[in-house]
Symmetry: D2
């Protein structure tokens, strides 16, 4: 095999451009005397999307592989962050790309729209795979013309979609990994007890300060206390596992209690070297979720601009469907909500010195 | 005066950098031993926003001046398009800029958030001006802690906000300008009658073709007919002024009937030279509306990321408020909806030859 | 045929995803035990580039068709502007996309770089087509390992490249169209004579004002006069056709004298309705040129980052080659240089009233 | 002081909008009957630039503080990466922002350009500070109308510029920090000796494989050997300190030998946890350098578009000056060049097991 490395390869063949550049067959060219100029754009834009989807799948596959094990090496967390950052860069590009589609005017779209029936973006298998791999629960998926979302796909693709959930989505493996975090109880240090005390101290101190302030009038004091005091409620879900359980049952939370506590710890002590990469990993997931939502909104806007209130080639109102997914389909919103639980660094319990040292490296770079 | 032009000026003085660069006073630096590093970013980001808001106001002011007259010269339409395209470029930048704010983590924000009370983005006078100038109706504005949105501003600013509506917003002047369009009835040509006939022909022809198709099964035929046939309903609001009036009363439409017909004509015959710029003007408005909505969504996302479900310094849930404005505050959605009324070019009534010539230039560039 | 429109089509088949998604064969997967993770990115990025190149070719083809005639209808200028604006949006995306490639680190590239020999971006046929269609002269092309740039392509592609120049590039057809502009001499109005007088007046007036200014010291006066006075030289190439001819021969200018004068007129009187679209057309060309150059610089930077001073798989220093093309390969720089010839609007000769009217529309939109 | 925290603050006052929004005085409004519409844009764009420059200075100041010590805590490396990533995001925005300036046409600029004399971007004190803080050597600065670049500034600003170099630029502190890296010799492990052997092995092995390949013809073999074999020369500067010294003297390299070796080690073994953040730090510097260069190119392009070959208000050809700085003013190019020295991971010497362990954390996250 060694020697075969020295076979030669050319740009055209390596990229299989015979396939890539011969895959734009315009329906309007086949069915009309004159092709609709903008159908080429329509095809190319969607093909580019599918290529990027393939790339994102490639990255997510690798991340899932890294985490679908009982033991995630620290080196792997860094690698996962690297791959997810690439996904983020691709997502940004996908959003930019909508501007290009919007150079097609609604009237130009009408020149070939009739020939597309019943093709529809709903039929993108790869996009369904992506949603699944990230962790969109099957139960939350919207139906498609009153059929199961997967019903438009051939059997092997339906099977592939189902397997994602069996194998474990990104949400699943991250949750499991968070639950395994070893710091929640370390020697004498009980994170949750420390945190609870800090929250209580902070609220008490602030309440007193507000009440005795000479600078606030009564209305302002009330408003300020409301802003602070209602933190009681915010913190309940973390201070009381039972409240968390109830919220989970009611569908208000999804991430397990233990994983949530771990995520909180990582957020609060992210400056410790060993938590750098775990923190970045959580930030990546928040970014990916946010960019996915932005993409859905922008996509919905574009469809509205193109079709107004017309029914899409797929038989449903594209805008309404897409807007609904943008509002509903968040995967890592529990990580967004960690912000609710944060308290200022100055109120944070000091870490035991021994623990602090052990959160660092064996060896110090410090010269 | 002539001679004074040759006074000299330097970069620093011209840009008044003494003011600009001396306007970042960090509250945390005044109230704590150590300034919170990220408060500088927080201040600078908002100041940059306000500078761009001033620039957008400058452009909108000029556009309003151009249109707040009974007689809009064609040259002015081109100028307005130019200014609005600049607004669009600025909006794109404002959206990009949110990424910079997101480099601040929620924990870093907590280092100085407490000192900002009760300052809030709700208190941006310029943003309220912008919304008003574009045409957001006062009646649709959300209240602010149960007070009128303008109650946070000093009297002179409240007055300035009220004057926008007296003077006429962008929505108002565009509507009036559309209503004045002289083409709807030209010699023997009746646009609406022609359009109506074209719609009826198209629907009839398509229905027959679908029903007799050998390539569709019954279910597909039904779906396809639904997709087409329900166009009856789409078109009602334009074919029947009474339906339009009812929809307007029910708050489903805002643009006047006459202006809507004119906007439809411009969309359908935009290839005629005299309609080039009017069409671009309408597209600009659609873009501005869309970018404003995108900005609102992104802004809401950022607030969610920063605060979770916490109540904002302004005393309300920033995310919920911003998300509500994103969903609700569309200004030119009636122009988006023109797409619903479009029919393929091939179904368009041919323009009378005389009219076609008169939609061109006096002189032909055609060499 | 009519009836065939009602055949059905699905997303997967319409986009020919069987071809598109089956065209990523990783050399490292074939030649090593384990595939190099990032080779997928490398392939996908380049395939996406090639898809966009196809789209740009599609747009340029249509623009060339519109202009490859003796008589360009005004309607067509608007259409050309529309297509070129789409090219511009695509170019912006191509530049953004480089950030994605840069998520691959140099070390990751080394995991599969060895297997690519001698494939190289130099071998992109479509990119060579694009350069040619825009108007890059064959004589200015850099050689490739001391061979003609087209020598890496099979015969039919070499022929296609040659045909571009026979058929006429964008540069060629725009130049011809500018030369046909009918306004340079209209009735009694002689544009060039008017312009010349205006330049002379302006320079004289400014010189006097500077010399008699009380606000400038001697050094400032000298500097200011230099800034102004050297405009003599700037303007020579337009005021004296012989100077233009000499500069053309020396390779300093490329656009013909007559076309340059027309471009100047369009720039100066762009506010006249009939010149709106022609002006935008010229701006598009400047934008396309600028974005092409930016892309070349960014591409060169990326190669430098990836390979340092190593020799590329194509056998030459990628960075040096790309940087050289960025510096050298401008196509519409003569349009950039029109700025040198502009004078303030206030110094512009007033257009004869009759001419001014005839530069407008038959019919006035003015209500 | 505690209690003062509860003073209230409003948006308008906090952001000092009285200053910010009152700092746009248009020269054309003072010197002409009618203000030039686009002068507002010109002012606002530059003020926004200066605000961002202040923010970048704020970040760089903090990074310099973190590194201007003999002992950089690992926690600090992460913080520096965070701040530098923010600088990167701001730089991206600054580049985007050029599109907004380009909405001003050259003719519109001429409406007020005359009044700006002799103001010029060359006079931006903050930009000079930034260049200095990053590490642009004073000796490489271009002169300004044949005067020292700092001569346009008042004495206190000249002093501030000089102090940067006394205190130590980013280049200086990073170089010093790299030199202190403790891994180059660790127990029995000699990094450079290992690396040298690996390079030699790799070259020998590859040469043999190429020569004996059945898949390459003679010409291809020669080309391939050139591509590989010339690596001898690439590697000389790192394998032989004397060669490095000579290149440094000749101005071809700037980074010290010891720092270069450390940077190479960090690049090659970046997957070890302790080297994650140091590697990212180096990548940030490469990004900042690259973005600075892109900004210079884009800025040069914009000036060319606006002025053509005219001399700028500052008395020199803006485009030529800016283009020269883009070509010449790289600060961290030695880090770009590390890529030249990289070898594939598969050829890398295995790290001693003890060392590998010590490059990790005390405690393992591995659950």
């Amino acid at each position: 095999m060694e020697n075969k490395k020295y076979t030669t390869i050319h740009y055209h063949g390596y990229l299989q451009l015979d396939k890539i550049l011969d895959a734009q067959r315009m329906r309007s060219a086949e069915l009309e005397e004159q092709a609709a100029h903008d159908e080429m754009l329509f095809i190319v834009v969607h093909q580019v999307y599918e290529l990027w989807f393939k790339q994102i799948r490639h990255e997510l596959d690798s991340v899932l592989d890294l985490f679908q094990t009982q033991s995630v090496d620290e080196r792997n967390v860094g690698t996962a962050v690297h791959y997810l950052n690439r996904v983020i860069e691709i997502q940004k590009l996908l959003i930019q790309q909508i501007r290009i589609m919007e150079t097609m005017t609604p009237l130009d779209f009408l020149d070939f729209r009739n020939y597309l029936f019943p093709a529809s973006g709903f039929q993108s298998f790869q996009f369904r795979m992506l949603e699944g791999m990230l962790g969109l629960p099957e139960t939350e998926r919207l139906t498609y013309n009153n059929h199961h979302y997967a019903s438009v796909f051939p059997e092997d693709q339906q099977k592939a979609l189902a397997e994602i959930y069996t194998k474990g989505t990104l949400f699943d493996v991250i949750e499991a990994w968070l639950e395994r975090t070893p710091f929640l109880q370390f020697g004498d240090f009980r994170f949750l007890a420390h945190y609870k005390k800090a929250v209580e101290n902070m609220i008490k101190k602030e309440q007193e300060a507000i009440k005795s302030s000479d600078y606030l009038d009564e209305k302002e004091k009330a408003m300020r206390l409301k802003m602070l005091g209602s933190t009681d409620t915010y913190f309940l879900s973390i201070l009381d596992p039972e409240v968390h359980r109830q919220m989970q049952e009611a569908g208000k939370l999804r991430l397990s209690y233990k994983a949530t506590v771990a995520a909180l710890l990582i957020n609060l002590y992210r400056d410790e070297p060993i938590l750098h990469e775990p923190f970045k990993l959580l930030m990546c997931l928040v970014d990916i979720d946010e960019l996915m939502t932005t993409w859905r909104y922008r996509h919905a806007q574009m469809v509205l601009r193109m079709l107004g209130r017309k029914i899409g080639t797929g038989g449903s109102s594209g805008h309404d469907y897409l807007h609904a997914t943008a509002v509903k389909h968040h995967i890592f919103s529990d990580l967004h909500n960690i912000s609710t639980l944060l308290i200022p660094r100055s109120e944070l319990p000091e870490l035991p010195k021994a623990l602090k040292q052990e959160l660092g490296f064996y060896f110090s770079l410090k010269g």
